[in-house]
């Protein structure tokens, strides 16, 4: 997300696929796979275990700062005893990526996973490639470089063995942490070298050029696609030994909390810390200056830090502070008034972002028009681990430990804030107790580093409380999505007009003009895939009055809710089956032509080159059919029960969900079963895809029924899980059945972490309608229905 943002904001001059690869090559490092595009070289030899040349394809990973890196010397170390260390450079926040990417390396190497030790990379993108872990991109961008890295290492081991045996390398076959010597018939002779025995020699073999690398064929995979490798941290998680942001202990470490302005851009007029300093255990109070220039980016809000010998004492000290605030320009932000404003704006024409055909004429000639508005509230990411970081500065070198999604971006800003060269700043990455986008924004790390600096470099742990987390997030936007559908004489959909009005993420990065930008337009708005001749997508102005950021699935949440609810509303109006009507709306199997469909010139396709990751309606329809069939679509259900369906493409993957709703006697909306189908292309860890889809349904339920942030006098009204509710075991989607569409390498890997969330809320709303005849259009809908 971050680097996409940068690209989008600086758009216009830079080529999309830039020169990162060549600059990587200059450093003697194997670049990405793009370097080999179009080269078809005959295989010089064919080791028995590696049968395929893979045609590389470009991804947006190549156009990011530092691009991708695949050099085995960066990611792999083998000890003489065979212990294999693999560096994992993406942040682990629950997707399993810390396991899945190294597993790919190990599989291509022919290594034994039980001998793998993982090392988490610090924030160092020039060395490891991009580390900004969000946007459901880790597998999408790193499956190729990690396969390349592992396969190259395998060939280096085989070449080292060939030299030792003085045979042709085609007679050397790596498997099970050894290289076996083959006879002329490619049968094993019984002679082997262990990886440990070969380690030193293998590391001096030149890294093979990309076009000479042979990859395992799927039938040779040991770990990929099997779902049998457990999460690397599983045992430590179950025994309390796993290390999260607050679990690092430094000698003489202090604990701190900060009192921040209730209203964004609020400033301290005066404060009195004398009572705080009398609290036992409190050692110091420091003002952390806020950054008020626009754009705010991820700079700290500013506030008063209380430093103590325990977190408890620091919190008590904070309670004893007296602070007078100037609430500043956002003090009138009020959710009720603002929502009314959004609604009024949505009723008027906005800036045209997509135009296809002649929608004005279609609406003028329409026999009937269906209009609906769908509302969404701000959402706080609220990961279970509240924000936390630890910092110290020793001999002019700063070290920061944190559970952060973007360690390198954080490192750069910390260096700036401390006025230190980046080489003197280290950012260590712990496990993340959830992230959901909040931990891509490193304001809390800047606070911690600045506080340590004020303390003369002393080690300090800065803990955010849950109240801090809920009241000082970078919020998911609040939105009105208004859709009008024109029906012609024959009852066919002849026109589609969608207006989106919502404060934009881009307001965090540049002077706000109230309009959204291509990244938000590309998330389920202009990329609406229906076969409708006349389409217009418009954006109305909405100024931001708080910090807007991204939250798992981002703008796809309100868009999928609106678009997929509207399909079912029109189906109901026409008396059609919602699933059949959805398939009809998607229309014939095709790759949508963005030009013919009137997409904007700067159409954003999750950053990906469109020809590699096109919108494929056959794949979308397939997940609809699979989910419907597996859910028993059309089956008879008792009164007050119903099925709803929704499908959505996001992050280059396709998901359809069927939600089965059962309304309790007291009106509680319950979900006994969700059936989801996901087509995320080539994939390696189906077990973790299932867990992501199960979790997406639960988070989808939180979004749909429970979670909403509102503002009054510029301040957030909620403070903890008491008034900012999320799904609990008392009411959650009780069974989620996940069907993963099989795909070979030719179908490029798509995202997994986010695409499961968007279809849930509309499928739920459609199921509620099927069960009760009531149409709910405002998220959160509440737990009960009358």
């Amino acid at each position: 997300m971050l680097h996409y943002l940068k690209n989008e904001i600086d758009a216009g001059t830079e080529p999309k696929i830039n020169v990162e690869i060549s600059s990587v090559s200059r450093r003697g490092i194997l670049g990405g796979l793009l370097a080999g595009t179009g080269l078809v070289l005959a295989a010089r030899f064919t080791p028995a275990g590696a049968a395929e040349h893979l045609k590389p394809y470009p991804t947006a990973g190549l156009s990011m700062p530092s691009g991708v890196v695949s050099d085995p010397h960066i990611f792999i170390a083998i000890e003489p005893d065979g212990a294999l260390t693999i560096v994992t450079h993406r942040s682990e926040m629950g997707t399993g990526i810390r396991t899945s990417l190294p597993m790919v390396v190990a599989d291509e190497m022919g290594a034994d996973w039980s001998r793998v030790k993982l090392v988490q990379a610090p924030g160092d993108e020039p060395k490891y490639g991009n580390q900004d872990t969000d946007g459901s991109r880790s597998m999408r961008h790193f499956i190729q470089p990690m396969r390349q890295c592992g396969a190259a290492m395998r060939q280096m081991l085989e070449m080292a063995a060939a030299a030792k045996w003085n045979v042709d390398v085609s007679l050397c076959h790596a498997r099970n942490h050894e290289v076996a010597l083959l006879d002329k018939n490619k049968k094993e002779t019984g002679k082997v070298f262990s990886f440990g025995e070969l380690a030193e020699a293998a590391m001096t073999v030149p890294v093979p050029a990309p076009e000479t690398i042979l990859y395992k064929s799927p039938s040779e995979f040991t770990y990929m696609g099997k779902g049998e490798v457990q999460m690397a941290d599983l045992h430590n998680i179950t025994t309390g030994k796993a290390t999260y942001g607050a679990d690092v202990r430094l000698p003489n470490m202090k604990y701190a909390v900060i009192a921040r302005p209730a209203v964004v851009s609020g400033k301290i007029k005066s404060y009195d810390a004398s009572a705080a300093l009398k609290v036992p255990g409190v050692e110091a109070v420091h003002e952390i200056e806020g950054v008020f220039s626009v754009p705010r980016k991820f700079h700290q809000l500013g506030g008063i830090a209380v430093v103590a010998n325990s977190t408890y004492a620091a919190m008590q000290g904070r309670d004893a502070l007296t602070i007078e605030w100037d609430n500043g320009p956002n003090a009138s932000y009020d959710t009720d008034a603002y929502t009314a404003e959004l609604s009024a704006t949505a009723a008027k024409p906005g800036k045209v972002i997509r135009n296809q055909g002649d929608p004005d004429a279609a609406f003028a000639k329409a026999k009937d028009v269906v209009t609906a508005e769908y509302h969404g509230r701000h959402i706080a990411q609220a990961p279970m681990e509240p924000l936390v970081a630890i910092a110290r500065i020793v001999d002019g070198k700063a070290e920061v430990w944190s559970s952060v999604q973007s360690p390198y971006g954080a490192r750069k800003d910390i260096a700036d804030a401390l006025k230190m060269p980046i080489e003197d700043v280290t950012v260590h990455v712990t496990l993340l107790g959830g992230g959901f986008g909040r931990k891509s924004k490193w304001d809390f790390m800047l606070e911690t580093a600045l506080l340590s600096q004020k303390m003369g470099g002393a080690p300090v742990l800065l803990q955010w409380t849950r109240e801090d987390d809920i009241q000082h997030a970078f919020y998911h936007t609040t939105s009105v999505e208004r859709i009008e559908v024109a029906l012609d004489e024959a009852g066919k959909v002849s026109g589609w007009r969608h207006r989106t009005v919502a404060p934009s993420i881009v307001s965090t990065f540049k002077q706000d003009d109230g309009y959204q930008f291509p990244i938000e337009y590309g998330m389920g708005f202009v990329d609406m895939p229906f076969d409708i001749p006349n389409v217009r997508c418009e954006n109305g102005q909405a100024m931001a009055h708080t910090r807007i950021g991204w939250y798992r699935s981002v703008a796809n949440i309100p868009r999928a809710f609106a678009v997929q609810s509207m399909v079912a509303e029109v189906a109901a109006k026409l008396g059609r089956d919602p699933k059949d009507f959805l398939l009809e709306m998607i229309g014939p199997d095709r790759e949508i032509d963005p030009k013919k469909a009137g997409f904007p010139e700067e159409f954003w396709n999750y950053g990906e080159p469109y020809e590699q990751f096109p919108i494929n309606t056959a794949r979308l329809k397939n997940v609809v059919r699979v989910a419907a069939e597996k859910a028993g679509w059309g089956k008879k259900l008792p009164a007050r029960q119903g099925l709803g369906i929704a499908a959505h493409r996001s992050f280059a993957s396709y998901v359809a969900s069927v939600v089965h709703v059962a309304i309790d006697d007291d009106g509680t909306i319950r979900v006994p079963h969700v059936t989801s189908a996901i087509d995320c292309g080539f994939h390696v860890n189906p077990e973790r895809i299932r867990s992501q889809m199960e979790g997406a349904a639960v988070m989808g339920m939180s979004n749909a029924l429970y979670s909403g942030i509102t503002f009054k006098n510029g301040a957030v009204e909620q403070s903890n899980f008491t008034d900012y509710e999320v799904a609990r075991m008392s009411n959650f989607p009780q069974k989620v059945s996940v069907h993963i569409i099989e795909a070979d390498w030719a179908v490029h890997a798509g995202g997994v972490g986010e695409p499961g969330v968007p279809p849930f809320a509309p499928a739920l709303a459609n199921a509620i309608f099927a069960a009760t005849g009531k149409r709910l259009r405002n998220m959160p809908m509440g737990e009960k229905i009358a």
């Binding site: 997707t95 457990q230 107790g433 849950r466």
Partner: protein, 150 residues
């Protein structure tokens, strides 16, 4: 001066008796397996056992724990082989893992008092423990597995 037995070891505490047990075990004893989630007793991430029964350590003061026995996730089993821990691994319950120590301590407390809980009893016992990643389906399954014998 308060005396508390923590994971079998007697500890003397001379500070503010109103300090929540959570911060005592984390900041003073460096037992970091117990997690801070909400500080209000509404998420369950900080669950420990007080004389064998699950409590929220953010809502239990050191003074209240004086003279009693506290078990944290580190002390649940010397080798991580408590049936609940084993079931958790067998089902691959965690995603990010942050809330799991609290979930496991809550589940272990449930099974200590009720060896074969019904689905409703599992739900009732576990509904105070939030998992934002959404592992509830597997938590439920793992508790049934642990109850049946792993």
């Amino acid at each position: 001066m308060s005396s508390i037995t923590i994971n079998g070891e007697v500890r003397e505490f001379s500070g503010d008796p109103n300090m929540p047990l959570l911060w005592y075990v984390r900041d003073m004893l460096n037992l970091t397996g117990t997690k801070f989630g909400c500080g209000a007793g509404v998420c369950g991430a900080c669950t420990v056992h007080l004389d064998g029964v699950a409590v929220r350590s953010c809502q239990t003061t050191v003074g209240e724990a004086a003279g009693k026995s506290v078990t944290t996730i580190e002390g649940l089993s010397p080798d991580g082989e408590h049936p609940v821990q084993k079931a958790w691994r067998k089902i691959n319950v965690p995603q990010c893992g942050y809330c799991q120590a609290g979930q496991i301590m809550q589940a272990a407390s449930l099974l200590a008092s009720n060896q074969s809980p019904s689905d409703g009893e599992i739900t009732e016992a576990m509904t105070g423990n939030i998992c934002r990643c959404g592992c509830y389906q597997r938590i439920h399954e793992a508790i049934r597995l642990a109850a049946g014998g792993v």
